[in-house]
Symmetry: C2
Subunit: 696 residues, 2 copies
């Protein structure tokens, strides 16, 4: 399994020789720390130090200049004041070095002088075709090469199979230390800092190619290029799970919006849609992230959502059952043979049905035999073993008995190992055997749910990430976003709009209505009035020429009174459309991820009810079904009580078409069809009203 | 602060002498374990052992019978086979003992023989006016008396200020062991077992009276008597926080329901409503429960929701900001004087605005000074200190510097102490000083949110738990639940229903319509058709006698065709009601908590949209406002876009009235007004349709 990785990134993970510029003999300095970690990590290549003062450090000479450093050297780590970075980087370029980590701070994160220095560094790097990690980062480490370019106090993390890519150096430091108590280790870890050059997306494939890495975790504060992140991540997630802890909701905030879609979207909807498209799993905390990473790294994937729970007490069993249900899993029904086998093992009052409660007397052997029995049941897809310290046996002995059963099974087994002083031996056994254990059933249940989710994701056909881009379907340049222009645009994309005729006088209105035939609808025509029905600007079911005349006049007067500054063009006359369900379909341009489609319950209450879902445009088939499957508006299209089923196929088709339209016209900032009238199956849909805003 | 505690419970917590019946010299037996814990706990009163074999145990004689046990003895612990329990309990009664813990299993949790033994024990206990904990439990402990009647392997839990009441013995055992790693201790702990006599509700006040207990936590699988739990808990929560981890959602399941309200309610809605009424905080896991208990036990309460975040790195600060927002808290705006003072302390590129990022160089003194400065700001109500292991200093030194600032503050401060190997000293300091620390900002933020919630709860006027019960307002015995009878019932409770006249022939229909005056509505009249509009059984806006005649006939024919077995009484004729918003108000009888009221968006889509909220009947004022404040239907009553405001006062009034009605008529299993038409302010409401089901 390999991904296309820019070969320019290779020296970061396979350097033949490293030079540390700014190595220091002062034990409290960061330059001392990096030198120590380089040497103590056991890095097998050449390590060189540069410091103008010369002398010795870690049994190596301090070279006064870079030119004095002998070959091989293809990776530089810079720990020098920011103002010297550009010239030093240029010297690296001259020396033939094509990869550098600037660990120092004092760049874009401080002030404009720092930002200018960062730009200068980037320019120099480009000039020498050099790749740059940082500045303002703690570098990277690989526990298998091994390599450690950080200045973090030893010990470095345990070697493991989970990689970590981070926009925060402090989070790296904290998680490395935290990991010692969690039983997992890291394969590779990269702190990206200011990302002057190398971004999270660049790093993703480079890390995915690492054979020691089974799961990739990311701490993310944003993405540099949304669409390219999705392209890259989509390929990686087909092979290895990617779990992102994305923060910065607060910072991203909400922009003022002109449509319901704009008001409801916000950048987090786009991130969620992007992660779903790319198959990325989103965690809400570091704790969740690594709870799940352990399970994904260590367990086979389940073939379904049926879970067997094995416990030695009732309470934790009930807790587990609740937690499974809350996470979309279910208690496996047990085959009668399974029940009979359990009965042969267990005492009379044990509970033989799932959750299987062996009672407090359960021995290590009981645990092992019962688990083996449960895992042999075809209806069981995964198992949770609950292990509070048993009153009569040591938890360590139970772990010892369970491990051979778990590690030879082709189904995932997680353990709720509840306690502290009575469980360290058991924890140690499980961790050494790569059996995920959690302090409570709730966290174990969520890990099982993530395994099921990953399994279902891989069972889908590989995604075509973005449908092939087509030529714009309308040659017309997008003029003013008048109702007529938008109607033409929708029509060009095959979205049906009702006949719409503009009347600019009472006489024209009556004449048009006579031609269209009654009943007709009248709508105020003004590019400046977005929410027409809010001002009573829509009159339905007008049945006579007299009523058309009367309503024409009153609409014009009302609009002039309500919006004295609006340009009022007249009144639109439309035929009445057959009854049906009504939905909203909208799109906004997200600054990171481009066009995002919204679907849901429409009308004026859309913001209050918030029965909406989002996906990236252009839509994939999976996206379109997600939109319909995750909203009440979508579910209702199949019919509900006296609400007749609607033309679901036409709604799906319209979703694709609007998705294509907004992909083709990035100049549209927001567009919204509300309502989209959905007729009976086979009868299609009508875009009854459409509004759009041009991008500023 | 004292609560009325049944004095019969006193011997459980203040025994003058204890007898263990079933004490054993066999070290692997439970009877040995209890003897060991009684003696080793340091219990200051008399400890006696009974065992027919006689001999010595823990330097005490084994008495062959209870009669041989000397005074004082007022609490018995029984660890004997179930079949001997009744006679032994009787002997305790004869001996004058009025409190007993039956730790043994083999009762109701096993089979019918066990259940019969349990009933026999209860009968004997009642006969001697003796109180009983268990059977099938692990007993109780009090770390301050001290007293330990459990057989759990030593050491017993650390002394502390959090009490724990549990329906599961295994959860007790696991949490005691787990607590050693968490830095909190227990004051009292009770395992309730089968609750033959003493229930969670009985225990609540007894434990609340304990001066060493600051917070009460409960692991709950159900309640014995819902209303009495609420009464008791409501009094306790005015003085001490109660945090319940309620499990058993799956077991409680959903009953088949005849109304939307019934379909949406389920027993968890009733539990949530009950906890809200009683001021009980509901946790979703043990981890949450004790995260929150620590904060509530150790921190002063905040006077608002503004939080200052103090960090030495950007990433955890962003994480904290997100987590605060997600939990309904906000970053405190800082006063300019505060900013100026921070500037004087911190280096040039530190971030002086909330989150305050002191940068990685922050010293223990920087932490302390900045926190002091932030806490002095009036706009700051609480603070979160983020402490990943600082690169230049020990986390322990930072903790040491922070603690005097935190413990002398009148505002709550929580710490996100991130790491493992580098933080034990800091953790120890914080725990000893009763400063709550959490491994990540997310968990610290939730604890702060719970403190704010508790503060707001106490700021309310003490609740009158249930409004005073009144006499039934209608003398009429509840007959058949026909539309007419329900209309009369609502009318008697002051809920307006439209005039409703039954026509049993075309002629009567026309004559009634003429009297009522046009337009009128026609509705099929049948006690067997619950969802009338689903079958087209409602015709609105009928304007002429001819149309009344025609619709009468077609309604009768359609109903007969759709429901061939329904009793069809004719057609109801009603005046048309003015337009307005429409909501649903319903009620169901919950088996635990009695009548529960539902309010929300009505119509046929109520189940799909699930825009509903629940509260216990009769409603308090706080409940009524909760129902309106937590649904879109409620918020919309204030008006939204072109939806005019509705008569909110009348809706509130109707909620109270329906709440009173269902409290008065427990024989009504489900009742539902859907829709309730809400007219403009001052115009009142109409119950347009009502249906009800009698309790089976």
């Amino acid at each position: 399994m390999t991904f296309h990785t820019d070969p320019s990134l290779t020296p970061f993970f396979e350097p033949k020789g490293i030079v540390l510029i700014g190595a220091s003999t002062k034990p409290t300095s960061l330059g001392f720390g990096v030198a120590r970690n380089l040497v103590q990590s056991g890095y097998p290549g050449a390590i060189h130090f540069v410091n103008p003062k010369s002398g010795m450090l870690w049994e190596r000479p301090l070279h006064p200049t870079l030119t004095a450093v002998p070959d091989p050297v293809d990776l530089a780590v810079l720990l020098i004041p920011a103002q010297f970075a550009p010239q030093t980087l240029a010297a690296c370029g001259e020396r033939g070095i094509r990869a550098a980590i600037i660990a120092s701070g004092g760049f874009r994160e401080t002030d404009e002088t720092g930002a200018a220095l960062e730009t200068e560094c980037l320019d120099i790097a480009r000039q020498y075709q050099m790749r740059l990690i940082g500045p303002n980062c703690i570098g990277l480490l690989d526990t298998h090469l091994p390599l450690d370019t950080t200045f973090l106090p030893p010990p470095g993390p345990n070697a493991g199979d989970i990689a970590f890519i981070s926009h925060s150096g402090a989070i790296c430091a904290a998680l490395i230390d935290w990991s010692f108590g969690q039983g997992f280790g890291f394969s590779r870890l990269v702190s990206l800092g200011n990302q002057a050059d190398v971004s999270e997306t660049d790093m993703l494939a480079a890390i995915a190619n690492d054979p020691h890495t089974k799961v990739i975790t990311m701490y993310m504060e944003g993405v540099k290029n949304g669409r390219s992140f999705i392209q890259q991540a989509s390929q990686v997630t087909q092979q290895k799970p990617v779990i992102v802890h994305k923060v910065g909701r607060t910072a991203s905030g909400q922009q003022a919006a002109a449509s319901h879609t704009g008001a409801l979207a916000g950048s987090e909807s786009a991130f969620d849609a992007a992660f779903r498209r790319a198959g990325v799993i989103r965690a809400q905390s570091s704790e969740e992230q690594f709870d799940w990473a352990k399970a994904l790294a260590w367990c086979p994937l389940p073939t379904g959502r049926n879970v067997a729970v094995l416990t030695n007490a009732g309470g934790p069993g009930v807790t587990a059952a609740d937690a499974l249900e809350a996470n979309g899993l279910q208690l496996a029904p047990l085959h009668e043979d399974t029940v009979a086998q359990l009965q042969a093992i267990l005492p009379p009052f044990a509970s033989l049905h799932n959750p299987v409660d062996m009672l407090a007397s359960a021995s290590p052997n009981d645990y092992a035999q019962c688990l083996q029995t449960l895992l042999a049941d075809e209806q069981v897809h995964s198992a949770m073993v609950i292990l509070p310290p048993p009153p009569m046996f040591s938890a360590g002995a139970v772990a010892h008995a369970l491990i051979p059963v778990i590690t030879t099974a082709d189904k995932p087994v997680v353990v709720a190992l509840m306690g502290n002083r009575l469980i360290p031996e058991a924890a140690q056994h499980f961790r050494a055997a790569h059996v995920p254990e959690y302090p409570f059933p709730e966290r174990a249940a969520r890990a099982l749910a993530v395994l099921a989710q990953r399994s279902e994701f891989l069972a889908q056909a590989p995604l075509s990430v973005f449908p092939r881009r087509r030529e714009r379907q309308v040659p017309l340049p997008l003029g003013g976003l008048s109702t007529e222009a938008l109607g033409q645009l929708l029509t060009a994309y095959g979205i049906r709009v009702p006949v719409l005729e503009l009347a600019d006088s009472v006489e024209t209105a009556v004449s048009l209505a006579n031609t269209i035939s009654y009943p007709v609808a009248l709508k105020i025509a003004s590019p400046d009035i977005l929410h027409k029905s809010d001002m009573g600007g829509v009159i339905l079911n007008v049945t006579t020429p007299e009523a058309v005349a009367q309503n024409y006049t009153s609409l014009i007067e009302k609009a002039a009174a309500t919006y004295p500054h609006a340009k009022i063009e007249g009144v639109h006359i439309q035929p009445m459309i057959p009854a049906g369900q009504e939905v909203i379909i909208g799109a906004v341009q997200d600054p990171q991820f481009g066009p995002v489609i919204m679907f849901g319950s429409g009308g004026v209450e859309v913001e209050g009810l918030a029965d909406v879902a989002f996906a990236l445009a252009p839509l994939t088939e999976a996206d379109a079904h997600y939109l319909l499957g995750n909203t009440w508006a979508g579910k209702k299209l199949a019919g509900f009580r006296n609400i007749e089923a609607g033309d679901k196929t036409a709604v799906l088709d319209t979703l694709y078409r609007l998705g294509q339209l907004v992909s083709d016209f990035p100049e549209i900032a927001e567009i919204e069809i509300n309502p989209l009238r959905v007729l009976a199956a086979g009868q299609g849909v009508y875009a009854l009203d459409v509004r759009a805003i041009r991008r500023k």
